[in-house]
């Protein structure tokens, strides 16, 4: 569509509220719905921080706090960080590999509506007494929890099935629908990230479904899987749960890393450093990620002899992550960096994620882990990796692809304000938690000993700053949607395929099916810089 068409084409809202099989519509449906759930999770987080600002129970009592804390965790993990990347993948995988749509369009729409149903059911569980066992829902506490726990488990099965459908779709599309010339070694690194993620979703999510079914049966049908008096085994639940949940944290970070690998070359006008090493590191992380789960159980009833093998695999997995970090640094080295908002968020990702990554190695060392397990040190580690890492990458992705999805440009200054507040807020909120954890503050407590007052006060102030940081972002998105100046098809002069078609892309993505003759980041070479698309002869000739 030419620029005039974008100006005049009414934004057809209705198709976003119906069963639509266009991968771009489903992508936007995912992005908007998950962002709403992010705000809900944020409100729950603010309730927790308000309660924890002062020692003593002043706002929520024990049961309410546990319900708020559980649903903060579940909403943020299962309804925001995992599905939002399904949104990016839905929108950009076909565009990046030169396909017209997903391999199974109807399965794609079904995956969105299953996710939506799962999200609403989880919200419903909140009013039925709410799950109050933390997102990990350890047995036997989750067996004696109020009714909302069963509904919560059902919603997780729905959301898990939705992400499974998504993964089947992404893998099939990437393998069988790449445009001519798009070999595996010419795939953009975001697509590599999605391959590694879909592999993990395919292999780990069904085991979570099994675990949840066992919990539901124990709660409803009277089976005795986890009833210790009848020979049940709570450690079995922990093994099943963490076999999914550790790969889940890689499902949450690998697409984010993919987005960072897309942004750095474009804004430093320099090819990615070590393309194959980054692609292989993603796969190494996803394969190794399936073998490390018991490092969450070092202090549990796990048979002590089992801890050392998992320490070894947990240590090894730090190496591919390190390779990616250093490759990114080498990418911007000697580059010509332009400080647009996506680039700043990507740089923010590096500095925040490195804190999370290093503390991860701390946690792999068993003696240190025994002291800080289930304390606020863990809360700080996970938030640096997930909030500092994945959410910075998501923000970077939203700003980077905003012109492509809407055809309009966002406001740079608002974007920079948003980054400033977000970056400072993250450090202010989560650094004090490292200290509180090591000094002896357990996790998931509604109240704490007086000695932790200042640290928690700092964290609450940081939380307030983070809450306010979403305002410039929302304002920026809404205003730019209406009045942002037109962005044209390739505002960042990127070389990946999605920038070679108009923004927003037409119904079938490309005027003529693209023919790929060079890699995704071949800057500098004459052929790379100019228009990539050579019109392939029409199929009929």
């Amino acid at each position: 569509m030419t620029n005039e068409e974008i100006m005049t084409a009414p934004i057809r809202w209705r198709r976003y509220f119906k069963w639509n099989t266009d991968h771009k519509v489903i992508g936007v449906q995912y992005l908007v719905t998950t962002f709403i759930f992010f705000l809900i999770g944020g409100v729950l987080a603010m309730m927790m921080r308000a309660e924890l600002a002062q020692p003593g129970k002043d706002i929520l009592d024990g049961a309410q706090y546990n319900a708020v804390m559980t649903n903060h965790g579940s909403v943020m993990i299962f309804l925001w960080i995992i599905p939002v990347f399904a949104g990016f993948a839905n929108y950009f995988i076909p565009l990046m590999i030169g396909a017209e749509d997903m391999a199974f369009p109807n399965l794609n729409a079904a995956s969105y509506f299953t996710f939506l149903l799962g999200g609403l059911v989880m919200m419903g569980s909140f009013f039925l007494g709410g799950a109050n066992t933390g997102w990990t829902a350890y047995v036997p506490l989750s067996i004696i929890a109020p009714d909302g726990q069963t509904i919560w488990a059902v919603s997780l099965i729905l959301v898990g099935t939705s992400s499974l459908m998504g993964a089947i779709n992404f893998m099939t599309t990437i393998v069988t629908m790449r445009a001519p010339g798009m070999t595996f070694w010419r795939l953009p690194l975001f697509v590599w990230g999605m391959i590694a993620t879909s592999l993990l979703v395919l292999l780990a999510t069904p085991v979570l479904t099994t675990g949840l079914i066992l919990v539901i049966l124990d709660r409803v049908a009277g089976t005795v899987f986890f009833d210790a008096n009848a020979g049940g085994d709570p450690i079995l639940y922990q093994n099943i749960f963490w076999f999914y949940s550790h790969p889940a944290v890689y499902i949450m970070i690998l697409p984010g890393m993919g987005i960072i690998s897309e942004i750095f070359p474009v804004f430093s006008r320099k090819s990615i450093f070590g393309y194959r090493m980054i692609a292989l590191s993603s796969l190494a992380i996803s394969v190794l990620g399936l073998t490390v789960w018991a490092h969450h159980m070092f202090t549990s009833g796990l048979n002590p002899g089992m801890r050392v093998p998992f320490m070894i695999t947990s240590m090894i997995i730090a190496v591919p992550t390190g390779v990616k970090m250093f490759s990114w640094l080498a990418t911007i080295w000697d580059g010509k960096i332009s400080f647009t908002t996506p680039m700043i968020f990507a740089l923010g990702f590096i500095s925040l994620f490195v804190i999370g990554g290093i503390t991860g190695i701390f946690l792999a060392a068993i003696p240190f882990n025994i002291h800080v397990h289930d304390t606020y040190f863990i809360v700080a580690h996970l938030h640096f990796v997930l909030f500092g890492g994945s959410v910075s990458a998501i923000y970077a992705g939203v700003y980077y692809w905003f012109p492509k999805i809407t055809g309009r440009m966002y406001n740079e200054t608002l974007g920079k304000i948003h980054f400033g507040m977000n970056f400072v807020g993250t450090l202010l909120t989560y650094l004090p938690m490292f200290l509180a954890g090591m000094l002896g503050m357990p996790r998931r407590v509604a109240d704490y000993a007086p000695e932790f007052t200042e640290l928690n006060l700092l964290a609450t102030l940081g939380g307030i700053l983070l809450a306010f940081s979403t305002i410039p972002f929302l304002y920026n998105v809404i205003v730019s949607l209406a009045k942002g100046e037109l962005a044209g098809s390739n505002p960042w002069r990127g070389l990946t395929l999605e920038w070679q078609t108009s923004s927003p892309p037409p119904e079938h993505n490309f005027e003529s099916s693209p023919l790929v003759t060079s890699g995704p980041y071949d800057y500098g070479s004459a052929e790379g810089a100019q228009e990539l698309l050579e019109l392939a002869p029409a199929a009929g000739d």
């Binding site: 393998v175 010419r186 395919l202 069904p206 392939a536």
Partner: protein, 197 residues
């Protein structure tokens, strides 16, 4: 989206030219996730069987279940003959084999129900013990998959009678075949894990 007649003769191969049918690939990815789903259930069963063994194992009647295994093997055989028939453009023979599959599937399910009832009579139920819980959960989920297979076979049966399948459009039967054989392999593993070991 047939394979692209691209002028470019170099060895860069597009997805379409890999010779992989994308529907079948999607089915195989689904089978991979089903392997892990049953994997979780079998790991649970084995965990209880090894870590907290009980005497209820003796209640199980291997010969009855052995016959059931034959029945499921037979139905797998019928399905593969049906697929072979449709590839020879013989829809009537496919319908016949699908009919056999449905009948054998129903016999298998009734065999399972019979076995469950006889075990319940001897006090082994879903809630009686850890062995009972894990045994019934695992076999019931497998039974559910057999039921879904029988319903899918009936739909295919009707579609075949209406001439829905021919030698060039037999992908639906191939998918059903992959699913049915997978359910049969799961039963073989269950048969070994529960009754033989």
């Amino acid at each position: 989206m047939g394979s692209q007649t691209s002028a470019l003769k170099d060895h860069f191969r597009a997805g379409g030219e890999l010779g992989i049918n994308h529907i079948k690939l999607g089915m195989w990815f689904f089978i991979a996730s089903e392997v892990m789903f049953f994997g979780g259930l079998i790991a649970t069963f084995l965990n209880f069987k090894i870590n907290s063994p009980t005497l209820e194992g003796e209640l199980l009647d291997v010969t009855l279940v052995g016959i059931n295994t034959f029945i499921l093997l037979g139905s797998s055989f019928a399905v593969v003959l049906g697929l072979d028939a449709i590839r020879q453009d013989k829809p009537r023979q496919l319908a016949f084999y699908l009919g056999i599959t449905i009948v054998l599937g129903v016999i298998f399910l009734s065999g399972q129900v019979f076995e469950f009832r006889s075990l319940a009579a001897e006090g082994l139920t879903l809630t009686s013990s850890v062995f009972g819980s894990s045994f019934f959960t695992m076999t019931s989920f497998h039974g559910l998959h057999v039921l879904i297979g029988v319903l899918w076979a009936s739909r295919n049966f009707i579609k075949t009678l209406r001439g829905g399948y021919s030698s060039s459009t037999s992908i639906g039967i191939e998918l059903f075949g992959i699913y049915w054989h997978f359910v049969d392999i799961v039963w073989i593993i269950l048969f070994t894990v529960i009754y033989l070991i």
